[in-house]
Amino acid sequence: MADKRKDKAEETTKAGISRRKFLKGVGVGGGMLGSGVLSGSLLQDGHGAQAAATKVLGPGAVAIELNVNGKRWPLTLEPRVTLLEALRDHLELTGAKKVCDRASCGACTVILDGSPVYSCSVFAIEAQGKTIQTVESLADGDTLHPVQAAFVENDAQQCGFCTPGFVMATKALLDKYPNPTAEQMRLALGGNLCRCGTYVGIRQAVMQAAQNSPQNSHQNSKTRAPQAGRQSRAGGGHSNA
């Protein structure tokens, strides 16, 4: 409550964004900034719409709740803990990996409210109230998800460290575009890197999984989606083209 009063009393610039709010917006939404999208709360704060709702958290541990793979998990962690760290260190969901730790490689990809994100660059507290899907949720017992089965069949993996990230990025792509074009695939998977060089297998796996996708039968194949890719991150960042 004290925070609310402070925020209300704070001076705003002509543009309507106070310096303090800007920094807070960057601090909480920094991961999203890193992912190429401005934090929604920051943009709305600019118009004064949600100023009253902004709450300062931390630096000590705070109680939060995450909705991961269809279950709600109460957690107590510092606001600086990333979604990736929360998943790995607090929930023992170790499929997503930390590799570059700054939204370059995609090994930490999870699906947040239907969109693939770099979980190394999303704070856990930001992910509250959203549905989080990790690679651990895809298989049904011993039955692999079609994307996973296609990755195995096409040997789209060597050491396997990047594989969970690629699997999740592929799932997000096919959820959105069951019949992706080569260009849509390039954009959607352009934000994931593999050091062993498994891209040939990955390309084949994506196309095979698309054919085996359950949504595929419902898709009007004449409808060409205007644009693939990730709403929350820059795709294709590693192409020289």
Binding site: R80, Q148, F151, C159, G160, P164, L193, C196, G197, V200
Partner: protein
């Protein structure tokens, strides 16, 4: 005693077929547990304070503030006051705390006073290396002076280089260490589970029998993960100090700075040929760095045994993280320098380089006939003869297309390995060997060989690897693993099969030598109606399983592996002469490697090696700043790997004729990563008409070369 050999290709049920890797499901579901994923009860997280300077002396170090921080359980000084530090990122002190964030806070609370010292971090300009340059003795073959002076000699001179590149393993280097009394259990991220045993024992002054190393999955190694490293010892000390398990994984920046790189090479080369293209003489002045230790000396001239040669090589010691074996150590550099100079000579002679290398193929020695056939096959797959054009005489317009080629070789003989196979009375087969699968498909290969030999489905084979309590299975380096473990597994399986036959033959009214295993049955040869299912046969063992050891090499039991593989690669590129951007349109690889156990994972090795090759050819380089002594791109946004969009059309043709089948199993992981640099760079030269001298072929260098050549 059985006849120890590989099955004939037409009778093999599994060997040589396209089989999906057995640990694929674990990897795609995220259940594969890498060292980075290991969690132990009460485990602490460690972080390391690293030198910010390339060369300095530690004047003082004060860890008291770090120790007092709540959540910090121990601080271990790796290199204390008075120590001279020789590269940025070297370990100074390590902290163990209840979580990663607290450990990071603690590292920032360590106070160190440094005295900075003079450094050298760049080596391309040899004139600035001073006494850091150590020339080796000149090597001379034949009479190069006479050969170059010959009236008819056509000579070409060039400058070529490859920058330092890092391994950039996606799983960084690191360990989880845990003590129970005097016994240390280590979960390493390594290519050498068993080799680490002795390294830990020696460093910690404990018996090797008190070290237990275990690892199931490793997120890449490429030659950089054979050692215990300073940080591994630090993790063990922190675990000892706290009495708790400690996980220490490198952050991305130190992974790039100190955990492995490939030496550079720079070379001034002069070669001579007769007017008809017959190669006669080679002369090279080369230098390279591998960090403080100097650097590798690439084999030059690579593959081509020029009759007359003069070579001088200089190792340059610089203040940067040390080189480690990088996939086919020294070969990519030697191949690049040699094949680029040969391409430049072909251009001067106005010859198609394919014709020039075919003309000189005898200079490659005993492999020459195979190389010739591989060149012709690759040319067919690339449509080389139809599509090749003389330099810069391709398409009009700003985007130029060109073709290039290179050849490579590697040894790859199977290393020493032992394997124990147990056939249990319930029919399940246990294979135990302390190897590791670094992503090459080692698990799959072992399972294929065991299942093939015993005639059982692969699902019946249980593998135990990655534990130093198992029979020694060797380190995964030098492309020696597949030959080693497949040979030891084959012999163990054949011996176990013999024992099984001996125990059950009387039940079929025959003797052991008349039995065979086929497709899940044990039956009488020439009388397939008489036999047992595999499960029935195994049940006859009663309560006592059969168990046999196999090893490689084993002279008494024949050779199942040999040495010496090679291949040819061709690249088709487009170069945008306005932006300097190079795109690879297509690559072709023709590769031999003896008997192939699993065609699917073998092809993956070649695809992957070529893609890694595209990375080091077009994008990858360690950028060092001479003023600050620091690496400018210790990350993954400015140290750029090839991505999906950089992956061209790729054609892989494995050479599997009867001759190769007879050679036994030979390694494959390294050789196909050798040629891409030269093949792509030669295609760029063919496209543009100018030589871009050094890798990576970044747009700025391409534009500079075009301008120098008057073509911009």
């Amino acid at each position: 005693m059985p006849d120890y050999n590989w099955p004939e290709p037409d009778s093999a049920a599994l060997v040589g077929k396209r089989i999906s890797r057995v640990d694929g499901p674990a990897k795609v579901t995220g259940t594969a547990k890498y060292t980075y994923d290991v969690t132990r009860p009460g485990m602490l997280y460690a972080k390391v304070l690293r030198s910010p300077y390339a060369h300095c002396r530690i004047v003082s170090i004060d860890v008291s503030a770090a120790e007092k921080l709540p959540g910090v359980e121990a601080v271990y000084v790796v290199q204390g006051a008075g120590t001279e530090i020789h590269w940025q990122g070297d370990d100074i002190a390590a902290v163990a705390a209840v979580d990663e964030q607290t450990a990071e806070d603690a590292v920032q609370n360590i106070k160190v006073q440094y005295k900075q010292l003079a450094h050298l971090v760049q080596e391309e300009d040899l004139s600035k290396a001073g006494d850091r340059a150590k020339p080796a003795a000149e090597q001379v073959v034949g009479n190069p002076d006479e050969a170059f002076a010959a009236a008819e000699a056509v000579t070409v001179e060039g400058y070529y280089g490859t920058s330092v590149v890092t391994h950039c393993c996606l799983e960084s280097h690191g360990f989880v260490a845990e003590w129970e009394g005097d016994t240390l259990t280590v979960y390493p991220s390594t290519q050498a589970v068993e080799r680490l045993t002795g390294q830990f024992a020696e460093a910690l002054k404990i018996p090797a029998t008190n070290v237990h190393t275990m690892m199931q999955y490793v997120g890449g190694g490429f030659g950089s993960k054979f050692a215990v490293d300073r940080w591994g010892i630090a993790a063990a000390h922190l675990a000892k100090q706290t009495g708790k398990p400690v996980k220490l994984m490198l952050e991305r920046a130190p992974e790039q700075m100190v955990a492995g790189n490939r030496p550079s090479v720079y070379a001034k080369v002069k070669i001579a040929a007769k007017p008809d293209g017959t190669l006669t003489a080679w002369e090279s002045d080369s230098w390279s760095t591998g960090g403080m230790g100097g650097g590798g000396s690439p084999p030059m001239p690579y593959i081509w045994n020029f009759p007359h040669q003069r070579k001088r090589h200089t190792a340059v010691s610089i203040n940067a993280g040390s080189a480690r074996a990088w996939r086919a150590p020294n070969h990519p550099q030697g191949c690049y320098v040699t094949m680029c100079s040969i391409e430049d000579l072909a251009a001067k002679l106005k010859m198609d380089p394919l014709d020039l290398v075919l003309k000189n193929i005898a200079l490659t020695g005993e492999r020459s006939e195979l190389y010739r056939q591989e060149l012709l096959k690759a040319a067919e797959l690339m449509e080389w003869k139809r599509r090749w054009h003389p330099r810069a005489q391709g398409s009009p317009g700003p985007v130029k297309q060109g073709l290039g080629l290179a050849l490579h070789t590697w040894a790859g003989r199977g290393h020493a390995a032992e394997c124990r196979i147990t056939i249990h009375p319930d029919g399940y087969v246990e294979v135990s060997t302390c190897t590791q699968d670094i992503g090459t498909g080692t698990r799959t290969v072992i399972a294929i060989v065991a299942a093939e030999t015993l005639g059982v489905p692969m699902e019946m084979v249980k593998l135990n690897i990655g534990d130093n309590h198992l029979p020694p299975g060797g380190s995964s380096g030098g492309s020696t693993t597949v030959g080693g473990v497949s040979s030891s597994t084959r012999r163990a399986a054949m011996d176990a099969r013999e024992q099984l036959f001996a125990r059950i033959a009387s039940g079929l009214g025959t003797t052991a030598e008349n039995l065979e295993t086929v497709n899940g049955t044990v039956r009488v040869k020439n009388d397939p109606s008489k036999g047992f299912t595999w499960k029935q046969a195994a049940a006859k063992l009663g309560v006592n399983p059969v168990s046999a050891m196999g090893k490689n090499p084993d002279e008494a039991k024949g050779a199942l592996t040999s040495s010496g593989v090679g291949g040819v690669q061709m690249a088709d590129v487009s170069v945008d002469t306005e932006t300097g951007v190079v795109r690879v349109n297509k690559m072709v690889a023709v590769q031999d490697c003896g008997l192939i156990v699993d065609m699917k994972t073998a092809e993956s090795q070649v695809y992957g090696a070529m893609i890694m090759g595209i990375g080091y050819t077009l994008f990858e380089e360690r950028v060092m700043d001479e003023i600050t002594g620091r690496m400018l791109n210790p990350n993954m946004e400015f140290y750029k790997l090839a991505g999906l969009a950089d992956t061209p059309e790729m054609v892989v043709h494995m050479w599997t004729d009867a001759e190769q089948q007879k050679r036994g199993v030979i390694g494959l992981g390294e050789p196909p990563t050798i040629s891409p640099g030269a093949a792509i760079a030669n295609a760029v030269a063919n496209a543009t008409g100018v030589r871009v001298p050094t890798l990576p072929l970044t747009p700025d260098k391409v534009l500079a070369a075009l301008e120098k050549g008057g073509l911009a």
